[in-house]
Amino acid sequence: MDLSIKIRNKILPNPVGVASGTFGYGEEYAPLTDLSALGAIYTKAVTVEPRPGNPLPRLVETTAGMINSIGLANVGTKRFLSEKIPFLNTLSCPVILNVAGSLEEDYAEVIRRVDDQEAIWGYEVNISCPNVKKGGLAFGTDPHQVERLTSSLRQLTEKPLIMKLTPNVTDITAIAKAAEQGGADALACINTVMGMSVDIHKKKPSIPAVTGGLSGPAIKPVGIAAVYRVSKAVSIPVIGLGGIMNGDDAVEYLLSGASAIQIGTANFVDPDTSSKVLAGIKAYMEGSGFSKISDFHGYF
């Protein structure tokens, strides 16, 4: 059984990665799951400068989901290089850097400063974070800006470049095509869905930023629809995520056109979800007589 997926000139050993923002830079989860068995670690977003993140509370649970308003809290590129890279260097699984910023130049600057790091397998460009006021979201909702950003980052690196799309748009396929046009090697769908919750006792929004990003099983149907539509619209690999809790969920994404998937919120519920999902995918492949990931595709 061949579980690998090729993206640009590189290979992901298996289709099950862990999603940006839900797994830190891997270290915290080292005692809880076998990091070397992961298909990829997508790091928490890194920006040029450190960011403290949004005011608290930053989390609220909703029915079968959660809303977060972390606000790209991260140590910045400099401390990422000094504090996070040493541990990432010890890992055998692919490490994909989630890059974020407010301006095109911010994204470029991060990539310029880290691109010579061996530990970094490739980039996932977050043009879809609903939790920063100016920045991320603007790029992710406008096809022209997405194409421009993608092609300018394309010139900075030979490593795989994955654009991560937001579902909060009228037509995600237009954004997907723009990213492909700009030279993206793959697309990740979806980032969180815009959501809101109210504390009716305090008579105010549960999080100070008012709206935040909804994730978890509640959004799985949204993610699957996005992956299906995007994978029909482009010819580069699509990486699916949103609400995957178990192997069956992952299989839904793969059948819908995903070449790989990511585990996000489920890591919080069961830190070892990724290994169970991989086992579930393998069992399904066996039962279906599949020998490689592309065997999932073309059923509909």
Binding site: T22, R58, V60, M66, P217, D270
Partner: protein
């Protein structure tokens, strides 16, 4: 830190709406320290979704059992309460830092309110076992909320009720203010409970110039320091926010921005 399946050894009500749950602790999992917590995956179900955090309230090394004290509050704790002895529980623990031990010369004053009882109780029992003179102050609204606790051998427990229906009449901090601190050897505060109580403890500590540690609480997702979700705001530090699950839950009260 380990993710393991534990068994519920027993549950009993210790005050109105408060339950003590005893659970088994595997050999290969380290002993938790006072202030540390565990998270429970209540059910293999999407609702409630996230693991629920609870502080350890005791640990029995011989029996290899631990306990928590929880308030029945919402979906998760209501399900937890319904589970019979023998049920399996999915536990992630020990998590977080712990209270700083007082020195031999210091008198630990432990202040608890509401769901803050668990970690304070564990700490008090450990200090008591070590032969330290400890004052445990527990404040609540009325006498129905006073937990049924075994007395300390080397210390004392003072109950306070807002309505004066039992113990000291007034809040736990009003009780602190009534104490003659000079008669105590190097008093040192530790507090866990509702934010209002913690703030009051902190202000009292500032005024009385005492060291004060507070165990904080915030909504958590990962519980292991990865998601940056459970932060509290810091005061006078380079870093603006700290994670309750990893940098805490115990903080020097002077490091917290009390709003």
């Amino acid at each position: 830190m380990k993710n393991f399946i534990s068994k519920i050894l027993g549950q009993k009500s210790i005050a109105r709406g408060y339950v003590e749950l005893e659970l088994s602790w595997p050999e290969d999992c380290e002993t938790p320290k006072p202030g540390q917590f565990l998270t429970i995956r209540i059910q293999d179900q999407p609702v409630p979704l996230l693991r629920r955090p609870f502080a350890l309230s005791s640990f029995n090394l011989d029996k290899r059992s631990a306990s928590i004290v929880y308030q029945v509050r919402g979906k998760g704790t209501r399900i937890l309460e319904s589970l019979p002895a023998g049920s399996s529980l999915d536990i992630l623990s020990p998590l977080g830092n712990s209270f700083t031990n007082p020195s031999k010369e210091e008198t630990a004053i432990l202040v608890a309110g509401g769901i803050g009882l668990g970690p304070i109780l564990y700490f008090a029992r450990e200090l008591d076992r070590a032969g330290m003179n400890t004052i445990l102050v527990f404040g609540c609204r009325d006498k129905t909320l006073i937990p049924n606790l075994p007395p300390l051998k080397n210390g004392s427990i003072q109950y306070c009720t807002d309505d004066g229906s039992a113990g000291f009449s007034g809040s736990s901090v009003a009780y602190l203010e009534s104490l003659s601190l000079k008669e105590l050897s190097q008093p040192r505060l530790y507090a866990c409970g509702p934010t209002g109580m913690l703030r009051a403890c902190h202000n009292f500590a500032l005024k009385a110039d005492l060291p004060c540690e507070t165990a904080m609480e915030e909504m958590m997702a990962c519980g292991v320091g990865a998601c940056m979700g459970c932060v509290v705001e810091l005061e006078g530090k380079e870093q603006k926010y700290a994670r309750v699950c990893k940098d805490g839950p115990v903080f020097q009260s002077r490091d917290i921005k009390w709003t």
